[in-house]
């Protein structure tokens, strides 16, 4: 079970910002989200979107365990 957080325009697009998914890897999680909402699935892989696992940026694949927090971060605007 991973807790997924969306920020900025991704949350607006999805219509949610905090949801739980039964996924054991980032690839599986992306698949589940894309099945549910294919446009969101594409947006999560779009240009400039970064992924943080337990608040650390990751590139590529990651193993997800219980209570892992996955955040999808669109390009940051600065303050």
């Amino acid at each position: 079970m991973a807790r997924v957080l969306l920020f900025g325009r991704l949350a607006d697009q999805a219509g949610w910002r905090d949801r739980a998914f039964e996924a054991t890897s980032l690839a599986m999680l992306r698949g589940l989200i894309a099945n549910d909402d294919s446009e969101l699935g594409q947006a999560l892989s779009g240009p400039g979107v970064q992924v943080a696992v337990d608040k650390t940026l990751v590139r590529g694949e990651a193993v997800l365990t219980a209570a892992t927090e996955v955040a999808f971060l669109p390009p940051m605007s600065g303050g």
């Binding site: 900025g8 607006d12 608040k55 955040a71 605007s77 303050g79």
Partner: protein
């Protein structure tokens, strides 16, 4: 010290508190960023942060600034949530032995905060809301420090 807050804050009180009890500092520089009305085009700004990620990123960068400019101390307060025109968005104060380091560190911190800090900014105006990305000017300002 870094604070993210969804409540309005009073910059003068922060500066007074930051200056208190410094008999070796010599120089404090400060900056206050204020939300603009843009002649009615901006009814409000909305800033989203990722708690536990945004504050850590700011803290890491501020510690790099401390080392680079030999700062004695710094104070950063940043608003999140909905911000009305005229309200302070950000307060930065730097303390150093001499003014040059204090001024430059304050400028350095602000350039990074404006262009690279992990916030997501939405502008609410008469025509609806839109997400904003850093301007070219913000990026150029921030990149000045990369070349040095």
């Amino acid at each position: 010290m870094i604070t993210l807050t969804d409540q309005p804050f009073e910059p003068g009180a922060l500066l007074t508190a930051f200056c208190a009890g410094r008999d070796e500092t010599g120089a404090v520089a400060s900056f206050v960023g204020i939300a603009r009305a843009e002649q009615g085009q901006a009814a409000a700004l909305e800033l989203e942060a990722y708690p536990g990620f945004t504050d850590v990123a700011i803290s890491d960068f501020a510690e790099a600034a401390r080392a680079r400019f030999a700062l004695h101390d710094y104070r950063i307060v940043h608003r999140t949530g909905r911000i009305a025109p005229g309200e302070a968005i950000v307060f930065v104060a730097t303390a150093a032995g001499h003014r040059r380091e204090a001024f430059e560190a304050c400028d350095f911190l602000m350039d990074w905060l404006k262009s690279r800090a992990p916030f997501w900014k939405k502008e609410h105006g008469p025509g609806g809301a839109r997400w904003i990305e850093p301007t070219d000017r913000d990026r150029t300002d921030a990149s000045r420090w990369d070349q040095e």
